[in-house]
């Protein structure tokens, strides 16, 4: 079942296109990774999907309805997680924040925040302030806040780009676990080729700016992945090479498919 449709999407900043002629669809429950050269328009694509910027041309449809403002069942995790958490709210109050205008009672709010925090492997830090946590823990809080509303679609913009390698592996596995447990649809931007293959059910490769689709590669790896085994497998290495090749040789229309 198709959840998200992006058709002929184009977005201009002051006359210059950042993304152009982007067309793809995402099925419900899929985890799609988007990768592309630095500055090619990946963040712009996510913003357009979220309804944070208006497309100059083309359209984004969620459940078949055009996206005009941020849809209710969508959550966004920003790359700059440190600044997207509110420093004056404790961890718990940051996480339960999106429930405060959603007619969820106080008790249920606390319960769901605790559940979301436990889901990302954070317990016992409820009453701390975000800046009292490490970068990896802050990113877990940001993910918990995104999940607390039980979104149908989760957008993540380079969510693990600024945490250390060990934390990154943990967070990647956490994301796949949570995503499969809840059948959440995820659209994740990353500039890391390995990460895109390890995490994704599909990898979309974008061209240099203005971004258009260069390749749409299915990832035929077992659903259960593990950092050492999967990354060492022949299928993984082959896919990684494929993504790297498509990244380096953009603009070949025959390559799309």
């Amino acid at each position: 079942m198709t959840l998200l449709q992006v058709r002929h999407l184009r977005h201009d900043y002051r006359g210059a296109a950042a993304v152009d002629e982007l067309t793809f669809a995402v099925g419900a429950g899929e985890l799609v990774c988007i990768t592309g050269p630095s500055g090619c328009g990946k963040s712009t694509l996510l913003r357009a999907v979220a309804g944070l910027v208006e497309p100059t041309a083309g359209e984004v449809r969620l459940h078949g309805d055009p996206v005009r403002a941020v849809p209710d069942e969508l959550s966004f995790v920003f790359q700059d997680y440190g600044r997207s958490l509110f420093p004056w709210l404790s961890v718990r109050r940051n996480v339960e924040l999106p429930l405060r205008w959603r007619s969820v009672g106080r008790a249920e709010r606390a319960e769901r925040a605790a559940e979301a925090l436990a889901g990302v492997g954070l317990a016992g830090v409820d009453d701390r302030y975000p800046w009292q946590l490490s970068g990896g823990m802050q990113q877990r809080v940001a993910i918990a806040r995104a999940l607390v509303t039980r979104p149908a679609l989760l957008l993540m913009d380079e969510p693990f780009a600024s945490v250390d390698a060990q934390t990154r592996f943990e967070l990647e596995d956490l994301l796949r676990r949570v995503q499969r447990a809840r059948a959440t649809t995820v659209l994740l931007v990353t500039h890391d080729i390995d990460e895109s293959v390890y995490l994704g059910d599909r990898v979309l490769v974008l061209s240099r700016s203005p971004a258009h689709l260069v390749a749409d590669l299915p990832v035929d790896l077992p659903a259960e992945r593990d950092q050492i085994g999967t990354r060492g497998s022949a299928a993984f290495v082959a896919l990684r090479g494929e993504v790297a090749r498509r990244l380096r040789a953009p603009g070949d229309p025959a390559a799309v498919g």
Partner: protein
């Protein structure tokens, strides 16, 4: 131990200064400059001569100090309400400050004591004139800092607010005002000292009670120990009000990394 040590260190210079002053005034023996001990004894007789059931507080504490403090606090509270309220509205509106900016710049440039004659004509001698004067002068720092504060929302936080679909009311209370709070408190601190200054100035020229009034009475009667005692009282009132505001600020901004104690960062 270390808290006591810090307390001693910060007040040592003050104590030494008082001691030097004591010795110097005793040696000089000039009637304009009574020694601190005399001032203190005079003050004690002035303020703590009341009956037991009033905790020994003298009549003048109820008749002069209390009205003074109440007027300063009332004027300051009005300024805080108007400043934060109007500042929030203007800061959030796109064109508000374009309309009002020059007006505020002009109004703020007028030294507030210059308006006392105007307010005297409008409101007559008494508490009303003083509260209005204090409120008028104290509003500007709060107002302008609030405008500045509610505008300085971090762009990532602004986009987060949009991505979360936060309704305007929640946005104001949960994001805009907390983000502006450090700047608002900077304005409040400035305004509090302005409030105390204008409390005295307005009492010196247009009042029939209050610390400033008593100060002037003592001066006219050439009663210098009493005059000095009232100067000391002003210092104590200023310190006290400031301590209260600092405590409130410490509580309201305890989320700031630089304020938290015992947390490494």
């Amino acid at each position: 131990m270390s808290a006591a040590g810090r307390f001693l260190r910060s007040w040592a210079l003050f104590a030494a200064g008082v001691l030097v002053w004591e010795v110097a005034t005793r040696l000089a023996g000039h009637p304009f400059f009574p020694p601190p001990s005399t001032i203190l004894v005079t003050g004690a007789r002035l303020w703590f001569a009341g009956p037991v059931e009033r905790a020994f507080l003298g009549d003048t504490v109820l008749d002069d100090v209390l009205p003074s403090v109440l007027r300063a606090v009332t004027g300051f509270a009005v300024a805080a309400l108007v400043g934060v309220g109007l500042g929030t509205v203007l800061g959030r509106s796109r064109t508000g400050m374009q309309w009002c900016g020059p007006l505020f710049a002009f109004a703020r440039a007028i030294p507030p004591p210059a308006l006392i004659p105007v307010f005297l004509v409008l409101f007559g001698i008494g508490g009303r004139m003083q509260v209005v004067t204090i409120a008028f002068a104290a509003t500007w720092p709060i107002l302008l800092n609030t405008v500045d504060g509610v505008r300085s929302l971090d762009p990532v936080q602004a986009e987060t607010v949009r991505a979360l679909r936060m309704p305007p009311g929640h946005r104001l209370v949960l994001v805009v005002l907390p983000a502006a709070l450090p700047k608002i408190f900077a304005g409040l601190r400035l305004s509090l000292s302005i409030s105390v200054i204008l409390m005295v100035v307005s009492e010196l020229v247009g009042s029939v009670d209050g610390i400033g009034f008593q100060l002037r009475q003592a001066q006219h009667a050439f009663d210098f120990p009493v005059m000095w005692a009232w100067v000391v009282a002003l210092g104590v009132v200023g310190l006290g009000l400031n301590a209260v505001l600092l405590a409130v600020e410490q509580r309201a901004l305890r989320w700031q990394p630089t304020r938290a104690t015992g947390v490494p960062r």
